[in-house]
Amino acid sequence: MAEHQLIEIEVPVNQLKLGMHVIRLDRPWLDTDFPLQGFVIKNHTQIKRLAEQCQYVVIQSTSAKPALSQERRVQKQGLFARLMQKKKPSSNAKLVSSHTKMSIAPPAPEKRICYTDQVGTGQELTKAKITYDDAKTTVNHLMENIRFGRSANVLESSAAVDHIVDSVIRNQDALRWLTKIKHQDEYTAEHSLNVCILSATFARFLGHDESEIRRIAMSGLLHDVGKSRVPLDILNKQGRLTADEINIMKEHTTFGKDLLLSIGQADRIAVDVAHTHHERLDGKGYPRGLRASQIPYYAKIIALADCYDAITSSRCYDGARASMEALDIIYKCRGVQFDQELAIDFIKCIGIFPPGAIVELNTGEVGIVISANTNSKLRPKVLLVRSRDKKAIREQSIDLSSIEFEQKIKIARELPDGSHGVHSRDYLSMGAIMDIMGKQS
């Protein structure tokens, strides 16, 4: 027998009906002209007024659990899932909008696009540096505008995202190098940008088409936009946050959704991602404690990039070891916090030896990983900087995946940053790495 219970359902304003009990709006009540915070719709004027001021509302309903569980599941998946469900009955291909191209899973193997780098890492780095700096300015500008109540134009970020995706498609490693340069005082902007770059790189790895990569990258860039509503003394606090401060911090997901909806320019995917990127597969995430099937695919992608960049921003480790620590966490929390298959794909995408890792070869030479080989992640391109007896040598890059080296030379172990006087940061300073790699591209 069906069990009756009170449930909450998000309803787009164009689907509102008389008698529905509205309990929440997609924005604060005070921002609207409704005097009561919650009411039963009694006439069409109220529906019209809601439609003028909101995109969706939350209604409360009493209904049978089995009949509504599927509906609620889809509702909780967010705007995108509802859009997809709405599209399902339509078979008219000519009317298919761009939204129907959105993914709910990685592309099927036969539909995966296999990207190859169009230019070398050294060649791309110059452009990538300009792209990175411009994008950081754009993100800072966006966050400041929101924080100070000025009009925020999310569309301005589109150009920055386009440049980032263009760079990632030309070369998968150049921008990734730049994500390793962290400045503590610019964490929020750099983190948003890094998540954008990492998620674009991951989407490319998964074989999504370019439009999907752009959409995922944009969601990455905007995922933490709600932090612009978190007080600066909490956001920039040195030391531990109190329980109350943590709860305020956690509100950035809801702030982000509300903010993007109120601006009204953002892609629905970005709205969903801002709201759900801290949900966990086991239902212990926030803000809504969604179950695995309720979490949008895109949010699962961004959650991985978010975790990776947050952990690698730690000051506890050098860059390379931080990468391994982050991948360890993703690997161990797969299926509980992160999507099982996406987590494995993400680790494959990042690779055991990411750009910037300091490694010792089985020959005893020491080098720094320049870039990964798409088809041979354990055999990246390495810049040799120390001889077998650990003396400085003229830098020479070798491709461990080439037939010349494949059988004979391999990475014996990863070394802590600074080993034998080799610091990845020295090579990350743009002049040095561009000079070395540019000459050898």
């Binding site: 947050a310 730690s314 055991i352």
Partner: protein, 133 residues
């Protein structure tokens, strides 16, 4: 939001934990926190939780390792919180076992776990994902 304690000075290698770390609970003065075992050596281990790590340097660990070959339980293993890294995605921390305060039997048990994990370790392919590479 990311902030961390003092520098991690770890020199010894930690091995990736396998699926047999069944229970891993950190006990502090502020309460107990269920953690995920991340990496391990006989001297210490790395843990992660999506919850906030309580503020406390002196902690103890409840650990259950249930490998078909090796079943071990540690109750209130005294540890020192060597470092922590708290981010909005979760709390990461490193423990050093207080070897001076634990029995010889427990030390041997910790070493036995390390031995099992070392056998599984592949420095080139840490997650065994690139076998066909």
């Amino acid at each position: 939001m990311t902030y961390a304690s003092t520098q991690d000075k770890r020199q010894t290698k930690r091995f990736l934990c396998d699926q047999y770390f069944i229970q891993c609970t950190l006990k502090t003065r502020a309460g107990n926190l269920a953690m995920t075992a991340i990496d391990f050596s006989k001297e210490g281990m790395g843990l992660f939780s999506s919850d906030m790590l309580p503020e406390s340097e002196q902690v103890s660990l409840y650990l259950s390792y249930q490998n078909p070959r090796l079943q071990l339980k540690f109750n209130a293993l005294p540890c020192v919180l060597v470092y922590y890294n708290i981010t909005e995605v979760g709390s990461q921390c490193g423990l050093r076992f207080s070897l001076g305060k634990i029995s010889q039997t427990e030390q041997q048990a910790l070493a036995a776990i390390e031995l099992v994990l070392a056998e599984l370790d592949d420095p080139e392919d840490r997650y065994h994902l690139f076998g066909d590479d």
